[in-house]
């Protein structure tokens, strides 16, 4: 055992170690169950069938697009919540986190009521521009962005609050406009928070089911993402469902593991 390991041993009290292990088992065993029950014999043919590829591609594309939408809208929103001088900021912040506590299906219904064909806003989109969002890939992106944005906003807002305002003051005295200060001083200093928020956002968007199926429906190649494919496969062919689940699982784990710790950790 190395010196470091020897120093660490005995640091974690048993009273914490035990629940920690139980917690770990709780999270890991179901995933192990997937691997145990996988139809390894038919894995090959199922994996490379057209449907899996289609659902996977759609999932990746939509999750990434949704994350871009969240970044474009979420970072400014986080800035507003952290630095803006609005009167009702507390209420605003609570509203922003509503999609977190809302059951995703309810979120989907809400989106339908607003952006559906007869929705409050959607009806004008339909009448004036001929744009109809339900049952389209754009609808998937929207539904995913709706449920995933709070993760990004909360993460970035936290980072902004912790950022040192004095550096921004220094930049101002050097003649930097507010936008330049944000770009070259603030953003780099909150980068870890933004990265962490983006990762959470992407992961959430990838796994989204309820809002997607309610708002965007289900149609292979257009709106059938991996979670939907898994759910439907479960109806007839649990083996296929397990295969799809494993693919999704491996994909997520790969992405998360490849994100090195230091990109997400706050700088000391």
């Amino acid at each position: 055992m190395t010196t470091r390991a020897r120093a660490r041993r005995g640091r974690l009290p048993v009273v914490l170690a035990l629940p920690a292990l139980v917690g770990l088992a709780f999270l890991v065993v179901p995933l192990a169950g997937l691997l145990v029950r996988a139809p390894w014999s038919t894995l090959g043919e199922q994996l490379f069938s057209g449907e899996v590829g289609q659902a996977l591609t759609l999932s990746l594309v939509c999750a990434s697009l949704a994350t871009l939408v969240c970044l474009a809208l979420g970072v400014p929103l986080a800035w507003l919540l952290a630095r803006g001088d609005l009167p009702g900021r507390g209420v605003l912040r609570a509203l922003v986190t509503v999609p977190l506590v809302l059951p995703p299906v309810v979120g989907g219904v809400a989106l339908l009521l607003v952006l559906g064909r007869r929705g409050i806003v959607g009806q004008y989109l339909d009448q004036w521009f001929g744009i109809s969002l339900p049952f389209t890939t754009a609808g998937v992106v929207l539904a995913e962005a709706f449920v995933a944005m709070p993760f990004l906003v909360i993460s970035v807002e936290g980072a902004l609050r912790g950022a040192d305002v004095r550096y921004e003051e220094a930049a101002a005295t050097l003649g930097a406009s507010r936008w330049l200060t944000f770009r070259r001083v603030t953003l780099p200093s909150i980068a870890p928070g933004v990265v962490a928020g983006t990762v959470l956002c992407w992961a959430r968007a990838l796994g989204e089911f309820g809002a997607t199926i309610t708002f965007a429906g289900n149609f292979p190649g257009r709106t059938t993402t991996m979670p939907l494919a898994v759910y439907l496969a479960l109806e007839t062919d649990p083996g296929a469902a397990i295969v799809l689940s494993i693919v999704l699982l491996l994909l997520s784990v790969t992405v998360l593991v490849s994100l090195r710790d230091r990109w997400i950790a706050t700088p000391t």
Binding site: R166, A171, A172, L174, G175, A176
Partner: protein, 351 residues
């Protein structure tokens, strides 16, 4: 082009009311205890804090005149050296210095060239590509100064620029800073709580206590005639400029005389010793003190538990004595005495 300001800032129970005028090329030091309002004044001049009333202007340009006019910091021709330097950690020293130029629209190549020149001026050629974290305190301070001066600001604001340095570095950097300030043509405001900074670097001293000016004037004058206990305590230092040769220092024309110091030095120096190190004798004493000269009592002031005696002579000197000594010597203005200072009590600073 004079900088004139009437700084009135209300912050809760604290009120700053300060009039300030800085002539081009002049270094004004704002001196005072913590909480006096010095940093508030500096931030108001920088535009980081709006005035409650009053005005700030550089000749005809109005920077702040509530309620109507307010120019934000990025539009004021200022350069600020912050107490913690606040160098941008993810940029190299060169990029830090070039930041202000780039922000104001200078093309990249030109900005980098100017930045390189400035880093040369402050003696950091080799550290161009270093990150702030890799620099020592003194080096970081120099980068901060270069960064502030690179844009040729009209007003240079220094917020306790030497406070973060250890004692030996401070001496060295102070001298350098003095040189740069001498070369800088703009207006300078130096905020500090260290009287030595003020005495060495400033042309004009403004002493602030509780948000108001208690005394102002040239450093020597303020030191010789403190108006309050605090000022006396603060600037009660005998400070002279002179030229050293081995252990003898010939003081400049303003004060005159010679002093013997303990450690050899060469060239232009500052010498300083506290009033408490001065002994007064009715006649020339025998014994070890090498520094002994004739003085005349010019004034006597009671301060807390000591009495400060102003003495004319070559050089003139302040002495702190006990009331008992006053009685014993029967000190009265005009009385001739001898002042002595031990060479070991004199501190020497290269200029």
């Amino acid at each position: 082009m004079t900088l004139h300001a009437q700084l009135v800032v209300d912050r809760g129970s604290f009120r700053l009311d300060l009039d300030l005028t800085i002539a081009p090329g002049q270094v004004v030091a704002l001196l005072g205890p913590n909480g006096a309002g010095k940093t508030t004044a500096l931030r108001a001049l920088a535009g980081l804090l709006p005035l409650t009333s009053g005005h700030i202007g550089l000749d005809d340009e109005v920077w702040d005149r509530p309620p109507a006019s307010f120019v934000s910091p990025e539009h004021r021709p200022i350069g600020v050296v912050f107490q913690d330097y606040l160098l941008f950690n993810r940029l190299t020293a060169l990029d830090n210095v070039a930041f202000g130029l780039r922000a104001r629209g200078t093309p990249r190549a030109q900005a980098r060239r100017r930045a390189r020149d400035w880093l040369s001026t402050v003696g950091l050629d080799d550290h161009r590509d270093a990150r702030p974290r890799a620099l020592s305190g003194g080096q970081a301070q120099r980068v901060a100064l270069a960064r502030a001066l690179a844009t040729d600001p009209g007003l240079l604001l220094l917020d306790e620029p030497l406070a973060a340095l250890d004692a030996s570095t401070r001496v060295h950097i102070r001298a350098e800073l003095g040189r740069h300030l001498g070369a800088y043509p703009g207006h300078t405001l130096l905020v500090t709580h260290d009287p030595l900074d003020a005495m060495v670097l400033a042309d004009h001293l403004v002493i602030v206590e509780d948000g108001a000016v208690v005394q102002e004037g040239p450093p020597a004058t303020v030191a010789r005639r403190p108006r309050t206990d605090y000022v006396a305590q603060l600037v009660g230092l005998n400070l002279y400029r002179g030229v050293a040769e081995d252990t003898t220092v010939v003081l400049d024309a303003g004060s005159g005389g010679t002093l013997t110091i303990a450690e050899p030095a060469t060239g232009p120096v500052h010498v300083a010793f506290p009033p408490a190190a001065v002994s007064l004798h009715p006649e020339h004493p025998g014994g070890s003190p090498r520094n002994s000269w004739a003085v005349t009592v010019a004034g006597i002031e009671q301060h807390a538990h000591t009495v400060r005696v102003r003495l004319d002579g070559t050089p003139p000197v302040l002495a702190d004595v006990t009331p008992a000594t006053v009685a014993e010597l029967r000190l009265t203005p005009g009385m001739p005495l001898h002042a002595t200072v031990k060479a070991t009590e004199i501190t020497t600073y290269p200029t």
